[in-house]
Amino acid sequence: MSRIITYAQALNEALAYCMEQDDSVFVMGEDVGRYGGIFQVTAGLQDRFGVDRVMDTPISEAAFVGGAVGAAMTGMRPVVEIMFIDFITVAMDMVVNQMAKMHFMFGGRAKVPMVIRVNIGAGRGTAAQHSQSFHAIFQHIPGIKIAMPATPHDAKGMLIEAIQDDNPVLFVEHKKMYIDKGEVPEEAYTVPLGKAKVVRPGKDITVVATLNMVAKALTVAEELAAQGVDMEVIDLRSLCPLDREAVLTSVRKTGTLITADEGCHTGNMGAELAALVAEQALDSLQAPIVRVAGPDTPVAFSPPLEQAFIPSEQDLKDAVARVLEYL
């Protein structure tokens, strides 16, 4: 049965379910235990599963991510929380050279079934070192699955799927979405990684979005539908595996592509999709590809500047207007 809960509660349910089902699942990170996690995703888990399975760590990402890689290789299923994606840079060797490589270097005889939960996004006044959205960096590292659930429903289903997956998964959340509410079934279920979802079918313009850009795209789509513009909105849901077919199918239908992701413009998820379309569906393009993205700057602390950074519904409308000039 479904009820309305928040994105954070949906993640909490997924963690609790997996820990109940499988003793090898444990949670580790800064303030995840007694405090329940900075965004309360792990609230109550330490009381329920004990300090051995919900561990508070020192401020030492390289150490605990590295520890998780070792634990995963020796039979555990760690779920590591990194408080902000910004801090994963401290553990890049563990992520890039160890976690992503071990399965390959041991010729498939070692598995690294672990999940690193991170959050991206500006909008909480946390300035340049706690607001970044550089998740696309990891698209460039073979060996890491990248999940980006855009709804509480997908948050629960994809986290269960990620924990049960034998590959390392970077689980990318958005810090402004933890309080978003949506229908989530009480029972356990999985949502596959690597499968995009057409959340609004349309025939005129394809918008491929991630995380909270999906909801913004849907709002814009409804508004423009009144003006006779039929937008198709695709929730990409994973950066790796990348659901190329879903994107290409839609672009071949509409002849257009707008991407929407909060990452900085240069080298963001939209760049990869633009390249994909240029390589495999160029002849379908009726209009230039437009990327709605953050600007190529750090996120400012100043609230007006921070708001200016965040890709908005107006930015999406401007992108649609540009594409419409060609249709």
Binding site: G255, L282, D283, S284, L285, Q286, A287, E325, Y326, L327
Partner: protein, 340 residues
Amino acid sequence: MQVNTKSQVRAMPAARSLAREKGLDLAAISGSGPEGCILKKDVEAYRAAPAAAPAASGPAKVTSLARKLAQQKGVDLNAVQGSGPRGRVTKADVLRAAAAPTPAGGALGGRKVPATSMRKTIARRLSASAFTAPHIYFFSDVKMDSLLALYKDIKQEILERHGVKISVNDLLIKAVALTLEEFPNVNASFDGENIEMWEDVNVGLAVALDEGLIVPAIASANIASLWEIASQRADLVDRARDRKLSADEIQRGTFTISSLAQYEITHFTAIINPPQSAILSVGKTQEKVVAENGQVVVRQVATLGLSVDHRIIDGAVAAQFLTSLKKKLERPALMFMELG
């Protein structure tokens, strides 16, 4: 053979792809996108009504009476605001536009009409030719009596045998093609670095349309028989008028003939059609008094002009080419009996 397939027309990939698939020449299509970019819908509109070929962004609807009136009065329908249902341009709108002083004119108050994409393409290509290829010009008077006699002699028989009506032009095309075989340097292209001597001899024929010149080419005219040339020529000219030529039919030309023989023009100079290196201009055939073996006689005379790209064709070669062509035309038996 591919000649200059790299189009310089601005078009969206989907428009380009559709035009290629349907064998349409983008240069003939007006673009309605930003900066005149050709959109997919422009290609679709062109396919639906090639003769009208308006930009798809033009007035959505025009009554047929208004369209006719606009044509008579030289009113640009794109600039007329429609007052009918759903913005339809009506007769009254056209009359108002014709009466009103045109607002967007230059200092002298003229009427400004945006150039079509085809006109811009012609402008760009011919300027490029005129300013990069140094042209030199050669003229020769050709006595056409024997050729005309041959034409009269064989036309009925070819019509009966092949169902094709030949013209004097077809004989000229054949003679030009055979001459090009003898002068590979003239059937060639120069890109600034290399001279490409084409294997095929495809003779282009300039066809004047209302919106500009288009040059479909008769394929392999050097080996095609006369009736084949005539049938290709008739088909290409018809389809040029219907705007139904494929890109290849326009781009495959290796030499161009531009004829103004139906006008009162004795001779003229022509600009080379790039990437080709030479073009033949043909004036009217008319009776002239000429001296022949000490006698004054009246002959049918046409003045042929040859423009060549002096970068790769020297004057002597051009003179030899024109002389050889003249010989074939004046003594056509030599050409068709391969007597040299």
